[in-house]
Every structure is written in structure tokens, then in C-alpha cells.
Point group: C2
Chain length 969, copies 2
């Protein structure tokens, strides 16, 4: 007969039944089930039940020989066993909502009336034998071993679990109502959710049965049945299969099948809510309808499949049974590889933070409103061990940065701003920003463009006889004002146009600069032509210069008395001597030692970070100790190595006194008096450059920090951030401190060091990335520590600079990892067949991907070249150039490709949807399409895998009653 | 009804049927099938067939968006689609052995009589549309793209595959009998076996059909049907499914199901040999019976499963259908995780090479008989690119060794044996051994124990006024004689007692010594207290000593005229000056540069070796170039770095002239004349020590080289090896050259550098380790080159020694990798749940594994300590101690555990089997066991997973007719 059913609203009988029972009271979630499978064993002439496997979500098998649990793995079943199980449920005794309080009573009721009384007694006897769980030491092996070798040394090992031990033989030999101490002490309890209930599967071979005895029992109330279960979890379900001898393997497979079903999200729901036998069988049928089948010739059943990173959620699977989504889903249920053609990446969402409010300071107001409720949690969320490692890491990064930039600024401004100002400014600006800012995960720092600006400004002031500090103050004030204007006008909304293209381009470039700066710092001269044989010719002598004797150096003692050869290098220079000799400019071993410290710190940090994925040590140690503190441990190791070698490597020297680097300036800059009045107005022009510079640098770093991949939950505050950056501009200008703006690389490092992963719950479940520990505490601590570094100088002076540049290198490289641009560059070197299975590669032709990457590389190269010229000052402005390039890409690439490789620009968003629609129509030209709204197509894209058709169609029907498997004719 | 069937000799009807058809003519293997699935597409209003997936063994899907092939993956099917396919085969038209020569004719015949003529015409029209294969550029995307952006730069990319291209539109628009050029040029042909035939799956939706049209065609002769298939492979099977609109996904899944079946080893056999529809359906049923099922809640069907390393062989699967093995196998067919309890590791097989023949020189005779047939292939098997890298690698190892030992021997014997002798001896002994030896993969070299023996012997001779060279000659002659005695008496058979325990202990120890020697060589002093400020104080001056002026140094010019400060270090020493100063003993940067060269060479070699497993570059480049030549490339890089730095690192200096190191000795040692006659006899006592030393060293290295893991095919020759080592003892003694014996670490490196892997054939199939390129050429070349090194001196002198020690370090570490002992040591650091799934862990309790490892560690520690004392001379003899320890382990460990962790000792072998039997009986106490022979139990262990029972049992019957799925009652 031909079965005609409409695709839209017809379910298979099994699904129909399930929808009915599951739909009844969807509000009460059923408890998680822990399933234990015990098999009947003959040990030394006695019968006992021995645990052979358990399931929380995945299967763990008892490895008899190894006396251990196997790794959690996906239960691979045979179709055979599932069909046999189905038969068992069809023919066995099914007792639903049995009022059970003890095992004997339950056993009694389940055997009632089904089998002859003599068999009933025997079955009860078997079922009431004691249970041996895997937590206990085995008996048979040790006894056997002792018999074989009565060696004293070994028997000590094995006697610990013999029959005579009273603690062992207590459990379940008779009925015990309370769980044994073994059960209560079982550490496995941690892995089981609090509300869990147990289902027990008992499988055994007996000699008195001619045909199998099967019973499926659901108790009305979950009851703790003594030593039945490994853990003190109350039992809700019992599945008993006893059969005649000779079919152990087959019985075991049936047991594994029911156990796997019991932990299946959907079937366990069915089991809890089933009203009769047919409901259970419908559950099995639905399970069968969804199973994934591997062909026997392409897979070895002996391979234990590792649990996947992600499994389909129970909700998604249940929703298949809901009518409203049925039309879309039914066709694709279980479709292994089909339908991804229609998938589209989730659109780029910047959220309401960047909406243009149109009101005065509307964005700022929203930012404050958004952040205030989080303020308390911003503090107490910081109390975590992970914060310590993050603080140490970022602190070291910050002071290295402060010293580097401080030194450079000092050179550029004749010490008007030196290392001391740099430390103080970093501490002040950072603390204020972390306390009040919109995104406290952002770390403020001096940046390259600001440095170049200051340098040019100082040169200009000097050559034009203008007071540098006063001019700088006015520029700062104007810039602050301009920032406020940008804040109140919600100007930050233009960041919406920053797509992955811009973000990744910018952050890669900054990372490259970071890396190249770190490497450049490593240059020390090496005496390359050194010949050990001519060691006698290598010297460096101090020789008095004729000129210096007659020179203007005022000497208070007679120079001729001086033993010039005894002077040290410094003294020689001081007294006007000249250093003559071929070894003067070299410090032996310095260059190579620095290289070893630099590269060693970097490699050790990388290795320790990777150690997280190794198999050694318990997860806690690996994760919390070694991986989180990898940077600290590397620094300590190489500081130790440096001390051990005793070489004069450059060290981290921080100022030890609170006073301005130049003695002729104070801590406050006066706004008036030194320059002509019109400079107060004219300074608004250079201020504009500074503002653009700061705006771009700040906001793009914020975009990178707020990336959706980071799963931030507390929202961001672009307007609030900019407001505080503006305020700090003014404050720093008044105090004559450097200006601060978000530092991309260190902020990314901050985020990375605060990433959270879920503790894996069920054995085998993969930990998920949960998000970032969003709080203000680490940032505040970092900057308070920076301020206190003046007092930490005695400790810090042991740290060699190469070690810190190694940390810089790590930061730079780490911030590159995981960005798609980098992955795409690697694709150039890979033959197509070895390329990883990136989703964009499934949807965009490789040559288009390569073209897109090439455009990015060219952009970066151009920026890199510009950066090396005087144009470096407008570097952040060049990001605007990237935005233009991105806009032009719309002409070269289809929106489909860009959706995969980049994000759709806001105004293209709507256009894209229309495109899609047209394309869809093109492809399914012969298929009528309902006149749905464009919006709906976009959001339902994933569900719309096969659009509903109004045709009356022949449907290939998969009847769960295998008896009448359909014929079409 | 209850189905009662005996386990032993009853098959399911499907299996019965298959056994019948497959058993008919098992001798002719069926060709491999290449399957291509094409789906009907509407492109620009025209219908065409588009390739959507292909199978050689695993599935490769066309990724439409990406315009690429997916990675080969395991086909995950839905049960649904398999049942639907079954229905298709039940109801569709099945044409077996159709005489087809062209597609129109085949299409005509397959539609004959089944459907109305008007439909037939339409179906023919659809089926004869042209086929577009994935090799061609797509049309729709490029056109769409051009329409969207008429940008010149991009359209250049996309025009290359438009409709107007005549080459494109030719294929299959009409019937073409010859394959198109596209087909012939397809490189994929390489991946398909030569004898392959194609099966084509055509899946389409059409609007004129009310119900699906299904046809399965087998042609009597495989015929090339023009452009039907991507590659010019003749088509044997056609599966056509055309149906009404709206079920694309379902149709595609059915297509994937039949395609997967067609490449299944078992089903393709069935398809070739099927006599009627029911045979095909039986094939499907058998396939269903074997499939592996993954529960929907534990696996995401979207995950593409990587092809496994190993799949069950077709033979194994077919054998299930054979009656004789049926009883054992039937129960476990598809048993995913069951039954490994009975598995036992394959027993240690040393083969007939070590049988005690009992005849005079019986073993030697057998060795020669065994090796002679391989002699020609031993030469021509060497002609391979891999040999070049192996020769370079081993050559560098050998000369480094020759120089190291030559230097040490020279020191120990006052240059009676120096570097020159070492080179000559290595070249001579190595060449002779590689030309005539039993196992030419073994590399001869001086070893530590010999060195210590020579040292002691020289000291003894010197203090007792005995001629060293003559005494040494007589010891060598006696030792040679003793070796011959050992050879003719087949004494090597005792090696059978060397189990993994001894082997791994010995090779680990040798590796540790190798590593520690390499590291020790890296010590150079560093001027640790150097303060750059006091650079003026660092100098090294040459000062004339008072004594030297009056001393016995004959000077032919006036010393007072000498400008002492202008002398170099060497001159200063020559003229008797003293070097005074605090920088005299240091060479700046030398220590660190050496460290960088040493560690750099090592790390680069390791990284390049690992590069094989990366995704970059085509497999050929990675494997043949980068990985195989990794050592050469690392050496070159660091030689380059060294030259660039220009530092005076120690270089490899080989002698440049053929003359004995000492001028007072010649190339021949006379046996008589210098020592009293009784020394000629007495020397047999020390010779005994040398013999034991050589015997143990040689044979255990041979055992390690001949390990079964190395899969050597040409057999070994322990007796022959020992014979030649004896001969060389005598020859070297006569020529005054060092003695040579097998060098464990270098021999392992030799083996490693000659390992072969299969070229992967079907996409996704893992390359298998095939064995070692066994030949004599590489060895011979290595030693000939060593002999010629005297002429290579100008090139070799650029190689710094630290680089070569880096290679040594690599050799030492590499020879440790992959041995089980090392893996077990790592287990100490791993929590049980993270431990890898080693099979021995499944069967032996962890504490026993740890105990076993601990014993090994203690043994090694003791040996290490002894080695550091004067006992080092009897070091190889201590291996005998290891054998004793191993024997004692039998008392502590059960034979079961030892079988997994080690090997069973020969005499325990039989005992073990009996043990097993008893154990078996114990476990299956209630089960009667047939009285089989012990031998049979051992060999059939894997098959005996469920022993046949004589009971008449109820069998849970899996009927392939799902209609009457069994009830037991």
C-alpha cells in the first residue's frame, strides 16, 4: 500500500506518542540518571553481582584485568542488541510506578504471576546476592595470584581484599537499607549531579532457566536499595535480564543497550513519563530513528570513541517532536552530512552598546546604567586564585612597558617625562580607569604613536622657544574637551563598521610591532673575530688623553699621580681618559646569555602553557598551577639561571624615590604664564590629531576586547571608557605625566589570563569555555602594584631585562594565536587536502579565501611601511584607511563570502538577506516558496533546511513497526 | 513462537544465503569499486547531473560553497536511510548482468515494462543529461558573482568556467563513448586501484513522477559510459533513484547509503555475485547486522569522523560466514567492547634463527642458507632516495664516534691507537661486516667497555714491561678462536632468554650513557664574575719565566730581544713564557655558543622530524625532504650559524694522511718476538673476558635490531654475525686497530632512518608501517665514506663538534622513544584517568605495572652505578645479571601479567598455557569444556571468545526479516 502523508504535520506513530507524553508536563525536568550495570559472576563457588560498567553520560567499563575504569567513551552498540532489547521490552514484565521500599519486595512483585513459583524463588535468590562494586579490591585475582606465588613481598599487595574481611562481605549479602561506608565514601559522587537518581541494570546467566526472564521496573519513588548501587544515589529504575547459559555476550550487549538508552536525554524522559509498555517501545523506536550508523568496513568496533566536544542538546532533540518546528526539522533529523549548504554564520552583533541614541550623552548614560548593577560583582568576582597569576603577569608586562616607554620618553623630551613619570602616570591612569571605566579589563599604557607625537612636539617647542609643558597641558585640555564632545554625541557608534577585517588587521599589526620591538631589544655586540690563540692581544686599557689634562675638567688632585691602568671603565671616562683596545666594546657572553634568557623565557612559557593539554599530573595541578602560573615560573627559573651565571645582564631598575626625573620641574604644570595667549587656542589643532589618535586606539582595542568570542557577560562601555580617557588626559597634562590609552596586546593578555572553563561534570564531557572572569580587582591591583614598584625596587632589580622581553614576545605571539587571519595565512602553505575543516572553507572557494587574505597582508605591509616613516604619528588614523579598504571589498567579494570570512557591514545587512533570498529562489527554482518575511528567513536559516512544500507528496515513510516497512507501490 | 537453534551450526537466513553465494568461487577476487554519486541539478534552467560525493573506501563530499572535496571521512548513515534503501531494493527494478554498451541502451532496458511509455521517455531524457564533475570549475557561482560585481580584477578569476566554453559542455550532453580529456587528465586516478570498476549512483528529483523510480543495474561487462564517471574507470553498477519533489535530503541519504554499501568489502562481493533480488537484500541485512550504532545523545552527527588507523579486514568479516569458525565468531560479531578479557598478547617469537640445532656449526650453516637468497636484493633494495639521508646521518654519527673514541683511545694507549687507527678500523670492520654479515643493518663501532679494557691492558703492559701490541694481538687471536667456538656450538641460542625486560633495560642504559656523554662534552668554562665596568682589569699577558731562560729549551735567538707582549698564546708557551691574567682561561661566548649549537641542532632535528605530522606542504615534501633530511638540514643550518658568528668553536678535525698516529709503529703487528712465550697462552684468560663482552654486546644489539616491531623480513644471522666479529677481531689485532662490535644506539638510528611506510592508497586510509629497507648498501657506503674521510677533511673541518654532539643527543633520545619501559615510567606521573589506553593497562592492575617498572628502574640504577666504577669493564656481562633478575620476576609476577608487560620465558611457555587453561576452567566453572589440545587453546585464544557449548539453548535470534522479530515465549 502507498502511504501518503504530508510533510508538514504528520509524525510517525512513535513520535506522535512521544510528543503526547513528553508534551504533557514539560515544565518539570526529570532528574539525571546514573546507570550501573552489574553482571552475575561465579566467584569461588558463590554467586555475586559484579559491576561491569557505568554511565553518567558516557560509558565507563570495568577493565577486569587492569582493575580500573576505562576512559569514558561513546557507547558503540550493535543494531542487533537494540532490536533484542526492543523484543525484551515487548515480551518482558513491565512494572511502572511500583511502590517499592526494599529489593526483596521489588523482586517479589516483579516476578509475581509470570513464572512458576519454584523458578520465582530461585530468581529471587539470585537477585538478592551481594553486589561487588569496582571501588573494592577484587578477590579472585589476588587469591589466584597467592596460590601461584606464595612470595611474601607480593602477597602483602594482594591480601587486602580477601573474603575474611568483614567490611567487604557485609554489603547486600542480605538486604541492607542503608548505604555502606564504601558507597558513602565513593569520590565518584562528585561527578554525579545532586538530584540524580540511579537506574540499575542486572544481567546474568543462570542454569535453572529455560528461557530468559526480563523485567523493567520503575519505582514510584526513588529509593536507596542498600548496596545495589556504587554510589548512595536512590534507585528509580531496575532492568533485570536473567537467561539460560551460553549467551553472555548477547546478554551483556542488551544490558549495554538499555543502559545507554537510560542515560539518553530523550529516552530517560520517556522512561520517567511512560504510561505503558508501548510508550517505552515508542521511546526505543524514536531512539532508533535518531541513531548514527557506522558502516562495518569503515570502522573498527574495538575502537573506543572519545566523547565529542559537543553533543546535540536534549532541547534541540526534543523540539523535533514539537509541531511548530516539525516541518523544518523532520526531514533533516539525523541527516549526517546534509543541509550545511544553507547554514550561515551568525551575524556580527555589537549589541545595543553602540546604538546611536540621538540624545545628548545618551550612550554615556546607558553605559553607566548598564555597568552600575555589576559594580559589586566586579569586586567580589575578583577573589579567585586565577587572579593572582593574572595580576603577576600583567604587572610584569606593565612595569616593563613603563620602563621601556619611560626611557624612550625621557630621551625624547630631555627627561621632562622620564621613567618616574611613566610609573606614576601608569599607576594613576590605570587605577582610575579600572575603578571607574566601562570595560575594566582594558589595560591603559603609553603607546607608540603618543611617543612619536611627544617627540615631535618637544622638538617643535625647543626650536620655537615655547614652553613644552605648558603647550602640552593645553593640548591635553583641548583633547579632553574633544573627547567629551565625542562622548556626548555618541560618536563611538561608528565602531560598528569595524569588522573582523579591521580588528584582526589592527591587532596583528600591533602584535607584530610588539614582537619586533622585543626582538630588537635583544641586540648586543659579539666579538665575532675572537681567536683564543691571540688572547694576549685582547685588552682594554685606560690611557690619559693629552687634551683632558689641559681641558676644562676641574680636577682636585694631580692627574699625573693617577695610576691610569688601575682605573675602572667609569672612572677612566670620569677622569677624561680614553679606553683603548680591541675588547673595550664587548662584554663576553652577554649577547648569548641575553639570547638564552630571552628565548628561554619565551619557550618555557609556551611549553608550560601547553602543558595543560598533557596527560601528566592531576588536572588541578596542570591547570591551576602550571598553566596559570607558567609566566611566573618561567621568569623565576630564568632569573635563577641569571643569578647562577652571575653575568652582568641588563637588569630591571626602577626609580626608588618619588621625585620628578628633572629637578627643575614639579608635580604640577601651571596653565598660564609662559607662552603667548594665542597658543592656548592654537593648541586645539594638534589636539585634534591626538584626539583622533586616542579615539581610534582606545575604541578598536575595546572592540577587540569585547569580541564575541570572549563571551563577556557584563557588557561594555565605549562611551564611558572614552569619557575617562578624556578626564585622564587632562589630569596627566596638569601633572606633566604621559598620556594613556588602551594597550591592545596587554589587554588581550589580560583577557587570556582570566579565561574560565567549566569543570567537566560527567566523565568524558569536555570542559567548555565559559567566558572571562570579568572584574575590576586584577586591574586595580596591577596598577596599585605599579605605583608601589618604587618600594619593590630591591626585589625587581634581580630581574634581567631579556627575561621581560621574553614575556613581551610571548604576549605578542599569544595575541596572534586564534585569530582567523593567522589561520588563513597558514592555509597558503597547506595543500588543500590537509587543510583543517574550517567552516569558511566549506563555503568559500579557496582562491577567494586566499585573495581575501592577500588583501589583508598587503594592507598590513603598507601600514608597516608607513609606520616606519614620519607618518607613524597618524598610525591609528590609518585604521580609517582599513575601513575604507573593507568597504571596497564589498565590490570584489560577494556578501555570502564576506559573511563567512568577515562580517557583513551594517548597511549591507539587509541587502545580504535579500541576496540570500534571491539565491535561494534561483537554486530551488522549481519549488514554490511561501511569501515569508525576509527577517524570518534570516533568523530561521538553520531550521529552513528543507522548505515546506504545498505539494501533496509521496513520503518515504519510516515506520517504527519494522513489521510493515513500507513499500511505495 | 520460540526459535530454538544451536549456536554451533545455525546461521541467520541472510548469512546462510551469503555463505552460499560467496562460497561458490572464493578464488576470484572481485575488483575494487569506485563509487560516484551524482545528483540532478537545475542550472540556469537546464538540467544536469552534478557530482556530490565519491567513495574509494571512505566518503569524500563535494563542498559546494568551498568548491572543494571534503576530507575523506567515515560515512555516517541514518538507520532510516538504510531501511529506505532496503525497501528500494525490494520494490525497484533489479537488472543483473545486463548486456550494456551505452547509457541510452542501459537506461532503455532498465525502464522497460515497468512504467508507462511517456514517463519512460521523460526518465530517459533526464538520465541522459550531461554530468558535471567536481574537477571542473563551477558555473553558477561565477556567473552569480559576475552579475553582482562587474569588477575586472575579480571577473578574471571567475570567467574560466562559463557556459560558452566548448570543452565544458561537451560531456554527456549526448552519449559519448570515449572518456573526455578531463576524465583522462584527472589526477585522482592515482588513488584508484588499476583493476577498479565504477558504480554510479544517480539521485534526482523530477516533477513528472508521482512515485519514486528505482533501478539497480549490474552490467555483464564493465563498460566505460562516456562522461558518466569522474575518472575513466569502466562502470559495472548503476543505481538510479528518481522521485517527486520535496524529499531531496531523504533521497540523498539513500544515495549515500547505497554508495557506502557498494564500497563495503562484503557487500560489493555480494553485489558482484548476487543471483537475484533476495541476494542483494540478504547483503543489506548482513550489513545491517554488522553496523555500529552510536547513540544520538552521545554523538553529534555533524562531526565528520576521521578514518581510523585500522579497519577490520574483509577476510575476517567474510570468515564469519564460514562454517568452521562459525561457532566461535558468531556470538561476537560486531561485539563492540566485549570479549577482550580473553585476548592475550601474541607470544614472543624469535623464530627458527635461534633454534639449537645440535649439529656442528648448524646455526651458522642455516644463517648462510637463509641470507644467500636475499643477497641480490640486499644490493638493489638500497637504491632509494631514503638511503641518501640514512647514509649522511649514520656517516656523521660514525665519524663523530670514531673521532671521540679515537681521541680517548689515543689518550689511553699513548697513541698506539689514535684517531687515524680509529678511522681505518671503523671503515675496514664496518665494510667487511656490512658486505658479509648476517644482519647488515647493524653498525659496528668501538664501545665503552672495550675502551676501558684497552686502557687497563695498556697500563698493565707498561708497568710489567710487556709489549702491548703483541699481547693485544694474542688476546685478539684467542678471542677470535673463542668466538668461533661459540659460533659452531650454536651458543647464541641463549638469547632466547632475553625478553623485553632485558632488551629495554640494556638499550635504555646505553641510550642514557649516550645522552650523558653528549651533554658532558658540552662543558666549557664561563667567566662568570665578569663586570663590564672593570673591563680594563681583564687581560692575559705573556711574561717570560726566569726558569725558562736558564732552562733546557734550546733557543736559537736571544730571548731578551723578544717582545713578549706581542706573542700569541701558543708562541708564548713555546718560548717558555707564562700566561698571566684573569682572562687567560676563558674564551668569551664559546660556552654559550656551543650550547646554542648543541641544543639548537637537537631541537631543530626533533622539530623537523615532527614536521611530518604537520599539515604544511604536500606529503612528499614533508616526508621525503624535510623529515628524512632533518638531521642534514639541522647540521647545515647550525654550521652556517657557526660560520656567521665566526667564533672559535671546536671543529671536527680528521687526519689528512694515511699513517699510524705513532711514528714508531707500522700497519702490521708481528705475533712473535717481543714477549715471553707463555704470554701467548696466558692471554687466553683476558681474551675470555673480551669474548663474553663482545658476545653480549653484539648479540643483544642484534636482538634489539631484530625486534618484531621492526618487521624485518629477510631474517637475521646471529651466528654469522658473531663469526665475522671474530674474524675482524683477529684482523684488527694484526693491524693494530681497535676492536669493533655492534653499537646499539647507532644501529637503532640506522633502522629508524630506513623505516618504510605504505603510500596511502584510498583517500583517508592511513599509511601503514611496512618494515625497514633491509639492504647492505647504506652500511657499505657509510663505511667507505668513513675511510675516505681523510680526503673530506677540508669540508668536514667546518663542522663544529657541538653540532655533532647535538646529533648524538638526538640519537640517544630517539632510541629511547617508543620503548614500553619509557611509556611505563611516564605512567608514574599520570593520574589513572589520563593514562593512555595501552593494552597492558587494560589487563594488568596499575600497581603491578608500577612494581614492574620500579624493578627495571632499580636494575638500571644499579648498573649505572657499577658502570661508574672499575666494574665498567664487565658491563655487558652484567646483562647476565638482568637475565637472572628477569628469572626471579617469575616468582613475583603471574605469567598473565608478564605476558602483557614482558614476554614469557621459553620454558614457561608451556606452563603458561596450562595456567590459562586452569584459569579458564575456574572462570567458566559451570560451563562444560570440550577436551581440546592445549596447543589449540593457545592459538585459537582470540577465536575462542565464547566456547562452544553442547547445551541445547534458547538463542536470541536476530532475524533479518524485521517482520518476524523474535519473541521468546
Amino acid at each position: 500500500g502507498v502511504h501518503l502523508r504530508e510533510t508538514m504535520n504528520v509524525l510517525s506513530p512513535a513520535a506522535e506518542r512521544l510528543r503526547h507524553i513528553l508534551g504533557e508536563d514539560d515544565s518539570t525536568p526529570t532528574p539525571t540518571l546514573f546507570t550501573e550495570m552489574d553482571t552475575l559472576q561465579h566467584e569461588g563457588g558463590e554467586l555475586e553481582w559484579k559491576e561491569s560498567a557505568r554511565w553518567v553520560k558516557f560509558e565507563e567499563k570495568v577493565e577486569e584485568g587492569g582493575e580500573r575504569w576505562s576512559k569514558p567513551h561513546v557507547s558503540t552498540l550493535t543494531l542487533h542488541s537494540l532490536f533484542e532489547l526492543r523484543t525484551c521490552l515487548q515480551t518482558g514484565s513491565i512494572l511502572l510506578d511500583l511502590e517499592g521500599y526494599s529489593l526483596p519486595q521489588i523482586v517479589g512483585e516483579s516476578t509475581d504471576g509470570l513464572i512458576p513459583p519454584d523458578l520465582k524463588e530461585k530468581i529471587s535468590f539470585v537477585l538478592l546476592r551481594k553486589h561487588r562494586h569496582q571501588t573494592k579490591k577484587p578477590i579472585h585475582r589476588s587469591l589466584a595470584d597467592i596460590g601461584k606465588s606464595s612470595n611474601a613481598a607480593s602477597s602483602k599487595f594482594m591480601l587486602c581484599g580477601s573474603f575474611t574481611d568483614p567490611a567487604q562481605s557485609r554489603s547486600m549479602n542480605d538486604i541492607s537499607d542503608t548505604p555502606s561506608t564504601d558507597q558513602l565514601k565513593n569520590k565518584f559522587m562528585k561527578k554525579i549531579p545532586r538530584d540524580a537518581e540511579a537506574s540499575n541494570v542486572l544481567i546474568g546467566e543462570v542454569d535453572f532457566l529455560e528461557k530468559p526472564f526480563v523485567s523493567f521496573v520503575r519505582l514510584a519513588q526513588a529509593t536507596t536499595l542498600g548496596g545495589l548501587t556504587e554510589v548512595p544515589v536512590p534507585t528509580r529504575f531496575l532492568f533485570i535480564l536473567l537467561g539460560p547459559h551460553g549467551k553472555t555476550k548477547s546478554y551483556n550487549e542488551i544490558g549495554r543497550a538499555i543502559a545507554t538508552l537510560m542515560v539518553d536525554d530523550l529516552f530517560s524522559d520517556v522512561a520517567y513519563k511512560a504510561r505503558d509498555r508501548d510508550d517505552l517501545i515508542a521511546g526505543v523506536d524514536e531512539f532508533l530513528d535518531e541513531v548514527i550508523v557506522l558502516p562495518p568496513g569503515e570502522w573498527d568496533p574495538k575502537i573506543r570513541i572519545e566523547p565529542p566536544k559537543k553533543v546535540p542538546s536534549a532541547e534541540m532533540r526534543k523540539s523535533v517532536l514539537n509541531l511548530n518546528e516539525l516541518g523544518q526539522m523532520n526531514g533533516s533529523a539525523g541527516g549526517a552530512a546534509g543541509g550545511e549548504d544553507e547554514e550561515l554564520p551568525a551575524p556580527h552583533e555589537l549589541g545595543e552598546e553602540l546604538k546611536f541614541t540621538g540624545r545628548f550623552a545618551g550612550g554615556l548614560w546607558l553605559d553607566i546604567k548598564r555597568k552600575i548593577p555589576w559594580y559589586c560583582s566586579d569586586i567580589y568576582d575578583g577573589f579567585h586564585i586565577q587572579s593572582i597569576s593574572a595580576v603577576l603577569f600583567i604587572y610584569l608586562g606593565c612595569i616593563t612597558n613603563a620602563i621601556t616607554f619611560g626611557g624612550l620618553l625621557g630621551d625624547a623630551t630631555d627627561n621632562y617625562q622620564g621613567v618616574m613619570e611613566s610609573f606614576l602616570g601608569t599607576a594613576l591612569a590605570g587605577t582610575v580607569f579600572c575603578v571607574f571605566g566601562g570595560q575594566p579589563l582594558i589595560i591603559l599604557s603609553s603607546t607608540g604613536p603618543i611617543l612619536i607625537f611627544e617627540k615631535l612636539l618637544y622638538e617643535f617647542s625647543k626650536s620655537n622657544d615655547i614652553d613644552y609643558m605648558e603647550l602640552r597641558l593645553w593640548i591635553g585640555l583641548h583633547s579632553c574637551l574633544q573627547c567629551f564632545l565625542l562622548v556626548v554625541s555618541d560618536a563611538s557608534y561608528i565602531i560598528k563598521y569595524m569588522t573582523r577585517f579591521t580588528e584582526e588587521g589592527f591587532s596583528s599589526l600591533i602584535s607584530f610591532i610588539f614582537i619586533s620591538d622585543a626582538i630588537k631589544k635583544m641586540y648586543y655586540p659579539i666579538n665575532r673575530g675572537f681567536k683564543p690563540d691571540y688572547i694576549t692581544a685582547y685588552k682594554c686599557e685606560c690611557i690619559p688623553l693629552q687634551s683632558s689634562v689641559n681641558g676644562d675638567v676641574a680636577l682636585n688632585f694631580n692627574l699625573t699621580d693617577l695610576d691610569w691602568s688601575q682605573l675602572s671603565k667609569k672612572e677612566c671616562v670620569k677622569y677624561g681618559g680614553a679606553l683603548v683596545g680591541n675588547s673595550c666594546k664587548y662584554v663576553p657572553d652577554l649577547a648569548l646569555m641575553s639570547f638564552i634568557l630571552f628565548f628561554g623565557t619565551y619557550s618555557m612559557t609556551v611549553s608550560l602553557k601547553k602543558f595543560k593539554f598533557s596527560r601528566y599530573f592531576p588536572t588541578k595541578v596542570r591547570q591551576k598551577l602550571i598553566s596559570d602560573f607558567s609566566i611566573f615560573m618561567s621568569i623565576m627559573s630564568f632569573v635563577g639561571l641569571d643569578m647562577l651565571m652571575g653575568l652582568d645582564t641588563p637588569k630591571l631598575i626602577v626609580p626608588t624615590e618619588f621625585k620628578p626625573t628633572r629637578s627643575d620641574r614639579g608635580w604640577l604644570v601651571m596653565p598660564f604664564g609662559k607662552n603667548p595667549w594665542w597658543w592656548y587656542l592654537a593648541s586645539s589643532v594638534p589636539a585634534l590629531l591626538v584626539t583622533i589618535l586616542i579615539f581610534m586606539d582606545q575604541q578598536i582595542s575595546a572592540v577587540i576586547v569585547n569580541r564575541k568570542e570572549n563571551k563577556l557577560k557584563k557588557g561594555c562601555g565605549y562611551h564611558l571608557d572614552l569619557f575617562w580617557v578624556g578626564v585622564l588626559m587632562a589630569v596627566c597634562s596638569f601633572m606633566g605625566l604621559p598620556w594613556y590609552v588602551a594597550a591592545t596586546v596587554i589587554s588581550i593578555a589580560h583577557i587570556d589570563s582570566l579565561k574560565m572553563e567549566s569543570e567537566s561534570s560527567a566523565p568524558g564531557e569536555q570542559p567548555q569555555f565559559l567566558g572571562v572572569r570579568e572584574q575590576r580587582l586584577t586591574g586595580i591591583l596591577v596598577f596599585v602594584l605599579t605605583g608601589l614598584s618604587v618600594f619593590l625596587a630591591p626585589v625587581l632589580q634581580f630581574i634581567p631585562m631579556p627575561v621581560l622581553y621574553g614575556v613581551f614576545l610571548y604576549m605578542g605571539v599569544a595575541s596572534l594565536s586564534g585569530i582567523q587571519f593567522w589561520e588563513r595565512i597558514k592555509l597558503y602553505l597547506m595543500p588543500a587536502k590537509h587543510q583543517p575543516d574550517f567552516s569558511f572553507l566549506r563555503h568559500v572557494p579557496l582562491r577567494r579565501v586566499h585573495l581575501f587574505t592577500l588583501v589583508q597582508i598587503v594592507c598590513l605591509a603598507v601600514l608597516w611601511i608607513l609606520k616606519s616613516t614620519f607618518l607613524a604619528i597618524i598610525f591609528p588614523v590609518m585604521i580609517l584607511g582599513l575601513l575604507v579598504v573593507r568597504k571596497l571589498l564589498d565590490l570584489i567579494f560577494s556578501q555570502h563570502d564576506l559573511a563567512w570570512l568577515d562580517d557583513i557591514l551594517p548597511d549591507k545587512d539587509k541587502k545580504k538577506k535579500e541576496d540570500d533570498k534571491t539565491k535561494k529562489k534561483e537554486r530551488k527554482a522549481v519549488e514554490p516558496e511561501s511569501d515569508e518575511e525576509v527577517r524570518e528567513i534570516w533568523t530561521n536559516m538553520k531550521l529552513n533546511s528543507s522548505l515546506p512544500s504545498t505539494h501533496t507528496q509521496t513520503r518515504i515513510l519510516f515506520s517504527p513497526k519494522f513489521a510493515n516497512l513500507i513499500s511505495w507501490y
